[in-house]
Symmetry: C2
Subunit: 761 residues, 2 copies
Amino acid sequence: MYVGKKVIRVDAYDKAIGRTKYTDDLCDKSAYIVRVLHSQIAHGRVVSIDTSEAEKIPGVVKVFTCFDVTEKHYFPTAGHPWSTDPDHQDVADRLVLTEEVRFYGDDIAAVVALDEVSAAQALRAVKVTYEEYPFVLDVQDAMKDDAPQIHSKYPNNILKHTSIRKGDYEQAIQEPGLTKVEGWYETPTVQHCHIENFICYAQMEGDRITITSSTQIPHIVRRIVGQALGLDWGSIRVIKPYIGGGFGNKQDILYEPLCAWLCMQLGGHLVKLDVPREDTFVSNRVRHAIRSHIISWVRPDGTFAARKLEAFSDQGAYASHGHSIVAKGAGAFPQLYPCENVEVDAYTVFTNKPVAGAMRGYGIPQAMWAVECHTEDVAAKMGLDPAFFRRQNLMPKGYVDPFSKNELYHDTFNQCLDKAMQAIDYERKWKQYQNQSGDIRRGIGIAVFWYNTAVWPISLETASCRMVLNQDGSLQVQLGETEIGQGADTAFAQMTADVLGVPFDKVHIMSCQDTDVTPFGTGAYASRQTYTAGFAIRQTALLLKERILEYAHDLTRMPAYNLDIQNGEIVRTTDGRTLLSLKELSTEALYSLSNSKHLSAETTAQTKSNAYSFGCTIAEVEVDIPMCQVKLLNIVNAHDAGTLVNPALAEAQVHGGMSMGIGFGLSERMIFDPKSGRTLNNNLLDYKLSTFMDHPRLKAEFVENPEPTSAFGTKSLGEPPACSVAPAIRNAVYHATGAAVDTAPVNPHNLFRKLKDQGIL
Amino acid sequence: MYVGKKVIRVDAYDKAIGRTKYTDDLCDKSAYIVRVLHSQIAHGRVVSIDTSEAEKIPGVVKVFTCFDVTEKHYFPTAGHPWSTDPDHQDVADRLVLTEEVRFYGDDIAAVVALDEVSAAQALRAVKVTYEEYPFVLDVQDAMKDDAPQIHSKYPNNILKHTSIRKGDYEQAIQEPGLTKVEGWYETPTVQHCHIENFICYAQMEGDRITITSSTQIPHIVRRIVGQALGLDWGSIRVIKPYIGGGFGNKQDILYEPLCAWLCMQLGGHLVKLDVPREDTFVSNRVRHAIRSHIISWVRPDGTFAARKLEAFSDQGAYASHGHSIVAKGAGAFPQLYPCENVEVDAYTVFTNKPVAGAMRGYGIPQAMWAVECHTEDVAAKMGLDPAFFRRQNLMPKGYVDPFSKNELYHDTFNQCLDKAMQAIDYERKWKQYQNQSGDIRRGIGIAVFWYNTAVWPISLETASCRMVLNQDGSLQVQLGETEIGQGADTAFAQMTADVLGVPFDKVHIMSCQDTDVTPFGTGAYASRQTYTAGFAIRQTALLLKERILEYAHDLTRMPAYNLDIQNGEIVRTTDGRTLLSLKELSTEALYSLSNSKHLSAETTAQTKSNAYSFGCTIAEVEVDIPMCQVKLLNIVNAHDAGTLVNPALAEAQVHGGMSMGIGFGLSERMIFDPKSGRTLNNNLLDYKLSTFMDHPRLKAEFVENPEPTSAFGTKSLGEPPACSVAPAIRNAVYHATGAAVDTAPVNPHNLFRKLKDQGIL
């Protein structure tokens, strides 16, 4: 069995020696080079664009402006599975180039040149005349009646408002003896900062167009390019090579439609669009900044009588993934610490800022910042031990969510807390760090997180798989679910090897998706792949196995039910004898003069279940109070992600997520000029991305409760590690200093303000 | 219905504007460049190779010699389907580089460099020391006991000798009143001269190797590279882009194994091997030169009492396709003009010459040269009208071959002769050109040909097909059968559209095969593809249709047997009402929240039948006797290829084959230096390839008798057009001059010799 083993990644060697081919490696050097011209105002209208000087520059092929987009096909960009129900379709508010400017960085023109230098020169030579409108950058200001209207269809700039009502909040807060704890919590706009910026290229073959893109979701790109260009979806072909990270930014359609459109304007010539880092920050997608207001009414015994959450999610200028991000976080609120009386209101609001989309955690890191800062605040106000207080109130084993039908099958929270507390020596440190004095103080803090797997029942969950047997008993596996650096291909190969009974190195995962031949699957997001693709892999491997054993029956005359495939051999189970190898069987099957068969199997597995995937973070910090500087000393994440397909890759996933959480908690935020709306730190010098150099040794602990609904006992692990890190750090700082920083990140600026406010400094 | 219509080629536009990507277009510019060093002796052993000077040349990466090939995996090169029966496997006599030299041009070393120039310089700087052996160039000399032995396993250099015995020849020739007609007929060594020379490149991913090759047979390349490198076949991946012609040369494995081997020696670095035209002539494959000896014993009524054929096929230095070529021709002999008493002996003999392999017609052009020159000679000797004489003796309607079970279902020969004779005004011209005098004379000549379709029952015939439905009701079709310029993709699209009931432009044939994902099929040869792939297409389309209609039943509640797909719509056959479009159905199927399904189908169709595909050529010539120059005035081919899938493409096939036949009849031959064995005219200046400039208007006539065994009524048309052209020209020259040229081509040299011999000049 390979599932559960630390098998070496299938792509390890090539990636280590640099042989792996990414999109730019594959693009022919004859490609025209595209650079996008972004608006330099935050809100307004393009009156005219003068391209004459730009087009005189040698090497410039042509400059296309928003006025060249005469057929206006508005398209959505969210990498969601499509819905045939118009009410569940994503908002279609984008054009490949736009006259209407809604943020500083909007796409208004594109330069096509023979080389990078000419393109850059031309970009500077294009002259744009704007009509400027007032703009708004703050999410709650944008909801005011006199705020600038960003999209005419959405009064008060509210893209969507949803409510949850449980019990009777107003009644419940009348209970005598309750303590009211209230707080405002805020997370910043951050960016994914994958190593490989977004890049794609397009070319035509006949009247079809092929786009090779650094994307997480090739089949969705196909559909959306079709929508954006007004073409039949089958006339689009999307190829996804290896990609250098995505983290949700590449779960949006970014510039594939523009690149394809330019290609078509240029007679199908090969066109490459490679986004610089500066543009990636501003004109790709960012994580939603969310401001949350929480009120808890707590009984003297430390239980909740009533709770209320208002969340304001800053969508930026276009809908992208829209309301679903804050909705996911809002949905977690009544579940994580169940309470009889709850009111939740979640708002997604347009502002004149860069567009927010999916990012690892999908609203949960923001929600956990609010909820777990608040939980700490409640425990502090009530004078309760925060670990004890959490254990007392967290979702218990056996909890079933009425909407998703998710059940918490195990005592996951206590198990994770136990593991993490032990790993970091929590009890001792918690006591040791009470009542410190002096400039340098230490603290330790906990945060838990809520996460569920995949998107059912909100949206479609489907994955198809094809397996093709070779003459040597090896096989290819094709899936629409994508390798984006996380090791999915390796996990898929392990699963296949186990179900089919072949050696791991005989499973060749087709890493590069090609929508023309790759079975339909929606791709990498929602930490869905080992869960969702797992069903498709098991089902398809079982079908292939059945076909192989049928053929084995023809060759051996043994009944198929007495046969099995073990380690690449056809074995008679009744006496354990090896009758022939899979290699012999498949060679005979292909070349048989009596019954030639190319053995393969292809199936679709629709998933109509979902699974909770919970855990926690404990962080230990040292704070230099006069310097307002936080040093992270120790950190541990504990997860119950069900069965780990590959413990080494699982650990790597957790490390990556923790790194992202550390940045979110300590240093990362995009800064916008209030005078212009311009992003001021859209580069990796001024934007403090958390790197290996900023980390202590990252510790990952696992509780492996096999998920009963899952094909391989697995559930989400991709995003969860990023969810509880920031509030754990904040709570550790609180423990060390008494300063309850409510605005992430806990950088010197925010910490200084809080220490000052609370009179500690 | 699209089958039968002159639909425009699916690749027409891209090929016309030059956008189509061939192997060299796809190879990254970072590739190392390979040049092969060929032996400069015809027979011997490489004693040593000094690469020191070559390796000093800047830009040279490394020089590999035959002595670096330490693991000797002998491999076959014939593009035949594999057989698991060792007795039916092709001879494995090649190494990627060889110490044993068997012809002038053998592969003894390879230079790898950063660029073409360094590679060419290095090639000249390598110093080789040989031990030379005597060599033999003539096929019958090679059979002598004292001839140099080329392969130790084959005494008298006979690769294989097969006999056919029917009736009692010796007894039959005793019949009184018989006329004996005897002749020796000879065809030259010619080369395919496809526009795109052979090219391939290789690179490694993990421990697998990917080879992109200009080949007709990607799945066979995969197997043979595995054999040549001693690797599991599944660790090889072969990609076949568009190719610029193959004509059988690319039905052999040429340099894919060497290229892959070099790549592996260089740590998997991308390596490109692009063969120059000069090497293509000598070190790829050539058409077998065949010398035939025929004796016919003819009764006074013009029927055959007994016949005898001895054929000596010049294999060159390695086995390649081996005996099967002359065997096919020898097999035609007793069938074309059936006779009770027949003796056939066919020999395939090694010589120290370039290796002969498959070439359009696969032995039949050579056999038809012998048989149809001889038929003309018999008619002349008997004083019979050659057209009448043929009609009297040709295979009649209803003839069944006991081995292949082929039946001639129609009066094909008479129908084709009628059509061709009418088209060229034969009767009038035949009479008019009798008894001419003067220097310039005209003549008209007939030749018929025998051809059968595909390779069953000699070898395996199998084709697999996969179809994948898109959201817009379009679909991809994947087949191992290849587009090699002949228009196969267009024919496949027409077939698919008809069976599935969708518009032609909704069928996307995946032209580029990739053995990792393309269903197994053996490729383009034996004029098999519309016949063999036709079965797979119909079977797979029917299965997909069944699945579509099942889903339509779910959506409409109508029984599937009352539903049909017509022009991309789901139609209720009971009242002809359109219930929904295939686009609506497939979109709903993919995105259904209740029953999500990616509709596709994949099947293997094994073919256990075969079909005769006959026809004829009539040529009209003008001969300038003193100049020994033949001018082709008119030529017509008539074919019964069953139903024509696409009459325009069928006509193009016939034109191409006729062009090749004209070269074979009038000008083409490779010349070998008797002193060294070197090819003297291995370039397109000294080798007189027939081109458009050398042709009259080519006329193609068709008799469309639907083939009853076929999925679409089709049978072979790819190779047949090249089979009877040369003897028709020869017979026309005979008619004009009385000179019976028995050695092809009828170039001034051969014509002069004959005119001189017969005392005409």
